[in-house]
């Protein structure tokens, strides 16, 4: 695909990066106002560029792959050639709009919310850094460039969760988020390696273009197509970033960060990166319905599971956090059923209503002297009217009440799950998957009911009835300043009406009004065809469920904890306790993974590294050498008597060896018949000291010939083999040497 290269896309992420750099280097010298101007200005500029690119430069080239901007060759060696390049098609463009628009609102809100924060510049620097990284993530032209943003947002998340680092718990939550995300990144990396090995490229457009049924991606590997394994590895990455089962545990803890951060990072943008990635690689994923089924099922299961935990949480932000986990599950169910447009649609509506909800939470906590305990709230409708109004709109949106944005997007996902034909012939290791679509749809309906219930519980407990707070706190309750209220109102408008750009206008005969579907067609393919009657039927069902959920919650919690709520809690104490304790998943991970790893490491360190390797192998070897040295050292004692003794012994030994009569290396034996002649003289050196020679021809200890001659002759009586021993004696020193040799008369005779 050819992409136009006329737009400086690099400026979109670069502006926030420059803002961050400026604030990091000089922020401490800036006034608060300057800090906000730099930070918000950078995002505003970036938003302006993104909107210009999306609405002016992109429409003409959307079909040809969109805008592309190559900064420079990044990593190129051997078969790998990676550009540091950005690409904007309608999908990444839409995400850019969401990020810069909501990012800007949250910068404005933060200016008010963080008013009393001494570390003002650091906060905005991180926020800018985050926006830049998020924009790199969505604009990345290839997987490694996306990975830069992917890790960058993880870093900012780490920094911002632990923003108030003086509390160890906050710093620990940040670390937990980073490490859990790294587990996902591990999968992402392996997925990249597999893609590169199979296709030889890491660019999204090329991978998608190569993802055809006949390609190498469909070659079977361990019973499933390669694309399945690739998809699985990448999806592990997505479960980390987008907080899905089994890696969702970091997101609720991430609420330790300042609330604007929770709204921007942990609701509207970063956590949707996994959904974006799956949509980005849509062509690869639709190749293997089995993989899609896993995504859809994990999404649906997460949606329901997190909603259940949300029932029993008493911290405002924790409820919203589990709600986010649950809503992300909806998005995965959407993309997993091949309904990419619906998944991205929900991503977009969720960004508005969930950011709105979080910012309301911030506003409420601001009013409640920082506390987020909903058991101590109530009656805030009158005291914080603007916040209440915004929350009301966002609440109806997330519950799925008609006309509000969440209604359309959630409905598109649910109806799509029932209508999908993706799994018709799909198999996972031989298991038929035709049941997945309806199963996912049913679970989602249950989750939608749950969502309506726990969100209404939150609404009623916070806003209805009378305040349950102590007198001191009640006295301080106030509406937030304009800087915080204004962004809230904008978000409420989006949460209320934003769904209209993706609504199923086809039902009333105007499919062309569905702008979102039209935009996304060039990036993720056309919208899923859903029969009008199916669509309408599910609209009815979801509306009924939303209202049912709201009504049950009303019966339980309107005006405070009412009798039915207490009866219910009394009837199923185990369930409530389990949900309150988040089903002990954190404790389980700690006991099964974290502590064993630490234990293993410390015992490896003590036993293998210190003792086995260092003490035994290394110092052991040294000790052997050392021991040898010590033994040798005892000889060098400095004791004169010992030296004299050693000298005497040595001298005696020397004399003994020096005076031993010398012998030839071998006897010279001459055989003729049975007569042998033996010569024991050393060649060329006649015996000089009057040595005596004893010749023992049968080696029986009785020499047959004795005398001073070094040569002797002997005749054997029998043939065969005989041993001859010659002993030489020096008569002066009485030292002897002897040598022997054997002779075979038969063999000699034959010669």
């Amino acid at each position: 695909m050819h992409a136009a290269e006329s737009f400086n896309l690099r400026l979109i992420p670069l502006l926030p990066f420059l803002g961050a750099a400026l604030l990091i280097l000089f922020g401490r010298r800036f006034s608060r106002q300057t800090v906000v101007i730099v930070a918000a200005g950078a995002i505003a500029g970036s938003a302006f560029l993104a909107f210009t690119a999306f609405f002016q430069a992109l429409p003409g080239v959307a079909e040809e792959g969109g805008l592309r901007d190559v900064v420079w060759k990044w990593i190129a060696t051997g078969d790998l050639s990676l550009d540091l390049a950005f690409r904007m098609d309608t999908l990444s463009g839409l995400l850019c709009l969401i990020i810069t628009f909501i990012g800007f609102l949250i910068h404005i809100y933060s200016a008010g919310y963080m008013e009393h924060e001494p570390d003002y510049a650091r906060f905005f620097a991180y926020l800018n850094l985050f926006c830049g990284s998020m924009l790199v993530l969505v604009l990345g032209d290839s997987m490694p460039v996306m990975f830069v943003g992917w890790e960058g947002v993880g870093l900012c998340s780490y920094l911002l969760i632990g923003f108030w680092y003086s509390e160890t718990a906050n710093a620990t939550a940040g670390k937990k988020a980073f490490i859990t995300n790294r587990i996902g990144d591990f999968g992402f990396l392996i997925g990249m390696f597999l893609i590169f090995q199979v296709t030889g490229t890491l660019r999204f457009s090329e991978v998608n273009a190569l993802a055809t049924p006949g390609s190498a991606l469909m070659a079977t590997y361990h019973g499933m197509p390669m694309a399945f394994w690739i998809g699985l590895c990448l999806f592990i990455g997505a479960t980390g970033k987008s907080a899905q089962i089994p890696l969702y545990v970091w997101l609720p803890d991430a609420m330790a960060g300042p609330t604007p951060v929770s709204a921007l990072i942990h609701a509207a943008t970063m956590v949707t990166a996994g959904v974006y990635m799956v949509a980005r690689l849509h062509a690869l994923y639709v190749l293997v319905p089995a993989m899609m089924a896993i995504i859809a099922l994990v999404g649906a299961a997460t949606a329901l599971f997190a909603a259940l935990i949300g029932f029993a949480q008493n911290d405002f932000k924790k409820v919203l956090a589990y709600s986010t986990v649950s809503q992300l599950g909806f998005m995965f169910a959407g993309v997993g059923t091949g309904n990419f447009t619906a998944g991205v649609f929900h991503l977009y509506t969720h960004a508005f209503f969930k950011a709105g909800l979080f910012l309301c939470a911030g506003s409420i906590m601001h009013a409640m002297s920082g506390s987020g305990d909903i058991t101590k709230m109530g009656g805030l409708r009158k005291r914080t009217p603007w916040t209440h109004g915004v929350f009301l709109v966002c609440w109806l949106a997330i519950c799925g009440v008609p006309i509000f944005s969440g209604f359309f997007s959630k409905d598109a996902i649910v109806a799509g799950a029932f209508a999908t034909e993706l799994y018709g012939k799909a198999e996972l290791f031989g298991l038929s998957l035709a049941w997945v679509g309806p199963a996912v749809g049913s679970i989602l309906l249950l989750a939608a009911l749950g969502t309506a219930f726990y969100m209404s519980r939150l609404y009623f407990l916070v806003f209805s009835g009378e305040s349950r707070a102590d007198h001191e706190t009640q006295h301080h309750i106030h509406e937030s300043p304009e800087a915080m209220v204004a962004p809230l109102v904008v978000l409420a408008v989006g949460a209320g009406l934003g769904g209209l750009i993706g609504a199923p206008w086809g039902l009333i005969g105007h499919p062309e009004w569905n702008l979102l579907g039209e935009w996304l067609t060039s990036a993720v393919g056309p919208e899923m065809e859903i029969h009008h009657t199916t669509e309408l039927a599910f609209m009815g069902v979801s509306t009924a469920l939303a209202i049912a959920g709201i009504l049950i919650a009303r019966a339980f919690y309107l005006g405070g904890y009412r009798a039915p709520a207490q009866q219910f809690a009394g009837a199923a104490p185990g369930l409530v306790k389990a949900a309150y304790n988040k089903f002990w998943v954190d404790e389980f991970y700690d006991a099964v993974l974290i502590r064993p790893l630490r234990k293993l490491s410390s015992s490896l360190y003590r036993v293998v590294d210190r003792i086995l390797i260092d003490q035994v192998l290394v110092n052991g070897t040294a000790a052997v050498v050392d021991l040898a040295g010590r033994i040798a050292r005892t000889l060098q004692s400095g004791d004169g008597q010992r030296y004299m003794a050693a000298f005497a012994i040595g001298a005696a030994a020397l004399v003994f060896f020096a005076t031993r009569p010398t012998l030839p290396a071998a006897l010279k034996v001459n055989v003729s018949g049975t007569t042998v002649t033996v010569d024991a003289s050393r060649t060329g050196r006649p015996s000089q000291r009057g040595l005596t020679y004893a010749f023992d021809f049968d080696d029986d200890g009785r020499p047959e010939v004795k005398g001073v001659a070094s040569e002797a002759r002997y005749t054997y009586e029998t043939s065969g083999t005989h041993t001859i021993r010659v002993t030489v004696t020096d008569p002066r020193w009485h030292t002897q040497s002897s040598i022997k040799s054997s002779v075979d008369l038969d063999a000699a005779g034959k010669k």
């Binding site: 890790e151 680092y165 790294r182 591990f186 990396l189 392996i190």
Partner: protein, 530 residues
Amino acid sequence: MGILTWITLLPLAGAALVMLVPREEESILRGIGLGTAIVTFLASLFILSDFDASKAGFQLEVDKVWVESLGVHFHLGIDGISLWLVLLTTFLMPVTLLAPQAIGTRNIRVRDFMVAMLVLEAGMIGAFVALDMFVFYVFWELMLIPMYFIIGIWGGERRLYASIKFVIYTLVGSLLMLVAILYLYAQYHAATGSFSFDYVALSRLSLPFEPQLFCFLAFALAFAIKVPIFPLHTWLPDAHVEAPTGGSVILAGVLLKFGTYGFLRFALPMFPLAADATAPLIAILAVIGIVFGALMAYVQSDAKKLVAYSSVSHLGFVVLGIFSMGQMGVQGAIFQMLAHGISTGGLFLGVGLLYDRRHTRNLEDFGGLWKKIPIFSACFLVIVLASVGLPGLCGFVGEFLILLGTFGANKAWTHSGMQGFFPMPRLLTVISASAVILSAMYLLTMTQKIFFGPLDKPANKDPHVRDLHGREYWVFGIIIVAALGMGIYPQPILARSEKSVAGMIDSFQARLKDAKANPQAPAHLFPANP
């Protein structure tokens, strides 16, 4: 006198100059030491500008007869592999000497310290550019002596134990290498009738499998100890913990790279059959080192020891990349050597600064320091992230290329009887990639213990615990700019080593093919590259 001779001898000249200054003139001594290092660095930039990246072979060669009767030449030269390592050396040395903590807390004998550091620099540069095995060995051992003194004189409490362990361990390896060098020298004479220690000549010598294996093992042992490869690594934590900051930085930043450089320059090209046969084994040891080092780092309470074990883990990646025997893997290994020099050098500088302020390295003694010293904390965090391998910083590029290269290494390894182990490179990659998680665990845990949490310990509130000032800004600023630059725009580095690596791999494969065709051929010369 070529540029290579100049930059090799410049530090020695500086050392001589230092010795002429009275020992009381500490600031002059420091100035000369730093000045020499800076001039050497600037001079080394000429190599960069004169270097022609489109050529594979050695460039800027200097070849003078040294000992004619033995065939020893003073032969220096540089290619894309040694180019960056020389620059790493000349870059890290001034940065280290710039840091006020380089000499350690035993702030004694400044003159001797400067002499030791400059002689060390000369030894390192010389060993990287030497193309004569005799000259190489001289420089190789020359490095050892100053480092022995640096640990032994300016080190911590157990400095004698650590320095002796370091020297003996390293010597054991290098003596075997010397034997192998002499064996090659003799074999070369037998095959050609002339005496030569020349690297290019000796590396053309093709030996039968068994002598090749023994020579390879002798070289490999020397290099494996230097890297260090598991399980030969236990001298490293001791040496690092006891060495003064400057010693640690140079030890981790440059000296360890001689192990991996040695594999790349000598062990692989000279003994292709043996290298090929042992590659899977060494790769497995490298992977064990990656995971084991990370797990060890995870349970350390001494910050310096933690960083030392993280080096074992990071260098494991380099070895893995080299033995993947492919372009991406080897390129990644070279890049990772440089990145590790920057990031781990930075970590040691940071830990040194902390020790200077707090007189402890025990992680439990810190806490909440971000509040007290925010600028340093931010700098340290950036270096930690570079070491974790965050994309956009230097650590990512090398790790990524190594893992990507190893993942596809089954192509390279099919030569070595590993066909039956088709999934093995993939398996090894997956295991090593787990370091992505582990490195975040140990480094972020360290960061948290030092900088986050409440600032409640009285010793941490002491006014003596002050933020960066003066030259320290430069030290950390330079390190961070380097880490960022290498992460965002690594291509200029990769491009300059591309041809040399490709040439090395090609000739390795060609010789391997030749040797496989006739494994029992007596020692002979492989034809020179056309």
